[in-house]
Homo-oligomer: 283 residues x 2
């Protein structure tokens, strides 16, 4: 199976891993990689000797069958404006942004009648970033959320689904608004909570930390700039997610203040049981 010519715009952790996965699995006739600067090209060439590398986005997308936007969200629309007129009408364009409603609102009109468009969000990543951290198995076992709308062509959805499945992921769909609410809770909130937990901790206490602190705060080591952009783009949904977490914390605090030991036990029991459901759903 080949997806033809695949243009990956942005060779960071996700874009780089995607290129490596496509190469390792022989899923593309040609891989093209667009980077804003060529400083990273020698490192890319070493691991992907057959890929075409370019700093000209028009060269990257020309005659491409699949185009994947792997650049920061705020640079997606300006980039799409540059190349929308140069796409094959049968080209499938998707992205890997972690926020979908604003991306879809901006990108869908730019590509209407010019190519097939659907948003994608790979729930994969790492606290590391950049091509150096890329690996071909990043998507194996990962979940991808596709975000079709009423305007999405069924063909776009089917092709995107097959594309992500072939690099090892499992795919499900959600409308962009639902997606943003879901990831605000399940992805962005844990990041912000981990950061808040570190910031609430006196560094003189680190010496007493065990595996609980280490794991609970792991994602706070993610790129501050990357996560600022992500949280910023989804801030409306995140504000209410934070409020929900604060309510749960206050609930535990009030149990302690009121001497309500069974209230505390119930909160911990509920969390334990819910997390078991989560683990079962991810078997």
């Amino acid at each position: 199976m080949s997806f033809g010519t695949v243009a990956i715009l942005g060779p960071g952790l996700i874009g780089g891993s995607l290129a490596l996965a496509l190469a390792e699995r022989s899923l593309a006739r040609q891989i093209r990689i667009y980077g804003r600067r060529d400083a990273t090209f020698p490192a890319i060439r070493e691991r992907l000797p057959l890929a075409e590398l370019t700093t000209n986005v028009l060269d990257a997308v020309r005659d491409a069958d699949v185009v994947i936007l792997c650049v920061p969200i705020e640079t997606m629309a300006p980039l799409v404006k540059q190349f929308a007129g140069s796409l094959k009408p049968t080209a499938l364009v998707t992205d890997v942004g972690s926020v979908k409603e604003s991306v879809d609102n901006e990108i869908a009109p730019l590509l209407a009648n010019k190519a097939l468009w659907i948003g994608s969000h790979p729930m994969a990543g790492s606290e590391k970033s950049g091509f150096a951290a890329a690996r071909p198995d990043l998507f194996v076992g990962a979940r991808i959320i596709l975000t079709p709308t009423g305007k999405t062509a069924p063909e776009a959805r089917e092709r995107a689904e097959t594309f992500w499945q072939k690099v090892g992921a499992s795919v499900f769909t959600a409308p962009p608004f639902e997606h943003d609410k879901m990831v605000a809770h399940i992805s962005h909130l844990p990041h912000l909570a981990a950061a808040a937990l570190v910031n609430a901790t006196d560094e003189n206490h680190f010496k007493a930390a065990g595996p609980g602190f280490r794991d609970t705060t792991r994602v706070a080591s993610g790129s501050p700039d990357l996560w600022t952009e992500i949280a910023w783009d989804n801030r409306e949904k995140i504000k209410s997610a934070i409020a929900t977490l604060v309510t749960e914390l206050e609930h535990i605090k009030i149990s302690l203040e009121k001497g309500d030991k069974s209230g505390l036990q119930q909160a911990l029991q509920k969390a334990h049981d819910q997390r078991s459901k989560f683990l079962r759903s991810h078997l």
Copy 2:
């Protein structure tokens, strides 16, 4: 090196692991284990054929050189009252409770002029419990916090330090109050935050969860009953730790509400940098 006759009161995960470590490393002339009921004795005898097992605490502590309280915190003082008058004056008594100020306030007066006393908190454990989960290497690489006070004999501190080092742990000290504040932030708060995070999450969103949610909430799968006891015993310090976390979360939320992107970036940057310090301190 031998610590003479060592009495372990309570053969659960910690007490059982300690007995196994002492036996494996030939650190005791005699190991005595006190259990409230003898139902667990056959399983203990199988792994510790030379240990003396008894349901009579006076038989366990008679002529003992070291006595370790490995029973639940709320049963420590009643137990010590039973045997305090039967100790050798040179006996070293310590415990493994995860809260220290209340334990020290209760136990120290009971043992004054009767034996040497110092509190210990092994930062070791598992989400499993009971003798079945015990293993001789539980303390290898673990950190032990000793909690001396102004009344602690230097000899108690030195002997306890050597004792824990010989089973593989590294030891540091903190006064009981400081210890409780420290673990409220570094151990208890991450547990409660993980539980609150799970409780703040709609189970319909679990399908979108990635490794960030999984790791940030891992400890929420710990025993609700065990963690209720731990949090309950340290509730004064935990209340203020929760308040600190809520303040940090509100700080992030306010940045989002006010459109203060640089405030958000600074919070994430600070957390990132602090966590790097934590990682370096645990190399």
